[in-house]
Symmetry: C2
């Protein structure tokens, strides 16, 4: 059994907890929280909730620590720190800061002899993998990533900061015509506006100036100004009834040419349609936790990403079984 | 530069030759044929065509030998034999015989200290990878592979063996309703007939009994009897004009459930739409040839499949570049 610890118990931590149940070679040992542990109720009987400060007491009890904090302030500190004591895995998703995070985590993991896997999930993660595979196969081509239809937490937060807004949810939606153009192999140049639209569902305060709210949202720099944005005002009850899920997904498409005269076109498409963004992300992380455990058992150490890990390490099946059943 | 040899010069060999041009770190050294070398004209100036019997003269000149023969009789003999002298890669695609082929190739490659990659392409190959990744991520799920729309060489050959048939081409086509059902997450049980249809374009001899030909095709065991098959009689000119390509493609779809009560459904879909089946297969093989070269330089030896190879080995870019640009 691979003994797992969960560090941070929000949506992602709960997703990891439920994913572990589907993996018969894994066992949840403890959940760590910065809150008062007695205030945290988890879904698995007999598993301890302990304070984050006590994590070092578990050095001999946990094979892989799964970090479920946020990329802004939690993971840049926690992943390098915990890699001193555990094999670790995180879902650090600030793309521009990945090289720095890699370097920080690699320093402590190489020193401790542990394996650390960073930026695991679906983007970064499975989408990154598909960008890499497709570009290696079709060097003469171009790739496109589309996100959605799905809830963007950052954009939903931005809506909620507008004066007069009580609550809101934002969906990122790929533009169907853009998808069609990419799938045709035409390798179009697409602007930000041409790739995605943004749809907002907003609960306003009673008597608020709806026209002003709509205008403020649509013209918000970085978040909405570069997109075609629609704003729907709905009631609190409608928001709860119709928009409480956290779906997401998207598409990675590469089109490329082959042949002595580049006469043949090929389209490689990978897509995800996810009812729950955090539960799917958790499921990817848990498969890679298996890889971290196995790699460390083989003597590997230091920081790794999905690019560095042979696929067979993710599976419960043996190499022989995989060749016989999946190849 | 990675120095490449091509062993066998049919559609696949030509595809490899053209793919090498797109990979700036590779160089084609020689093409080997069992025909009279003087009768074989290749598309790359200054590259030698030599007889297959002389291949051992190139032991110091070739880093990776790409085997482009057929799975029925060529590769079972050639891959283990050439792995005694070279890093090798093949596209052995008789799924049921992969374990035996692996074992044979591994024996000679482990002994010689070379790396051998077998069963590389898209199925087996990229489709296999996607089955593995998706099943590791969503253990509580089911996966489906659909092929087409594309030309099946084996079924086209079967048509041509029917008395009164001059020429013919067969397309395998996924049933749209089946794709829709799978994408819904319903995890349907699908029969052979429900998954694919077969469409045949046939050139008959003048005066042949078309009704008999159609009936013989539709009722042919193993090839057509288990499918809904349509037969179109066309002229030789129409066949040449409309059906001379070798397109193919398909879909690997896994749907799975997550959550404490399996309440959330996720769909992972990978699809290929290929103008040229052999050129795409070649492009995959060439990327993995890079991996074979690098792995052997690191001291690896023995037989491997796409399951055993970390994605970063396929790319011309360095690990740092990949993390900065693709993760």
């Amino acid at each position: 059994m691979i003994r797992i610890g969960i560090f941070g118990y929000g949506n992602l931590g709960r997703g990891v907890e439920s994913a572990i149940r589907q993996n018969k070679d894994m066992q949840l040992v403890a959940v760590f929280t910065r809150r008062n542990p007695e205030s945290v109720t988890i879904n698995t009987d007999g598993v301890k909730v302990d304070h984050a400060d006590n994590v070092k007491n578990y050095i001999n009890d946990i094979d892989v620590m799964i970090l479920c904090g946020g990329s802004a302030t939690d993971l840049p500190v926690q992943t390098p720190e915990l890699a001193k004591y555990f094999n670790v895995i995180d879902s650090f998703d600030t793309h521009a800061k990945i090289p720095q995070h890699f370097s920080n985590v690699n320093a402590t993991a190489a020193e401790s002899g542990k394996v650390a896997i960073i930026s695991c999930g679906w983007d970064p993660g499975m989408f990154s993998l598909n960008r890499l595979y497709a570009s290696a196969i079709l060097p003469n081509g171009k790739d496109y990533t589309f996100w959605g239809k799905g809830v963007s937490q950052g954009h939903s937060d931005a809506i909620r900061r507008v004066e007069g807004v009580l609550d809101g949810k934002q969906y990122t939606i790929p533009v169907e015509d853009a998808l069609t153009a990419v799938r045709s192999g035409a390798n179009p140049d697409l602007t930000t506006r041409q790739k995605h639209i943004r749809e907002c569902f907003v609960v306003a305060e009673e008597g608020a100036d709806l026209a002003r709210i709509e205008s403020e949202i649509k013209n918000m720099p970085n978040y909405f100004a570069d997109y075609d944005t629609t704003v729907h005002f709905i009631t609190k009850e409608e928001l709860a009834r119709d928009h409480s899920g956290i779906p997401h997904g998207g598409f990675v498409i590469r089109s490329g040419k082959t042949g002595f005269n580049n006469e043949n076109t090929h389209i490689i498409e990978y897509s995800l349609k996810l009812d729950s963004n955090p539960e799917f992300t958790s499921s990817v992380i848990v498969a890679y936790a298996r890889a971290a455990y196995r790699l460390n058992n083989e003597g590997a150490k230091g920081c790794k990403t999905v690019f560095d890990i042979a696929p067979a390490y993710l599976s419960m099946q043996s190499a022989e079984e995989l060749r016989a059943t999946m190849l």
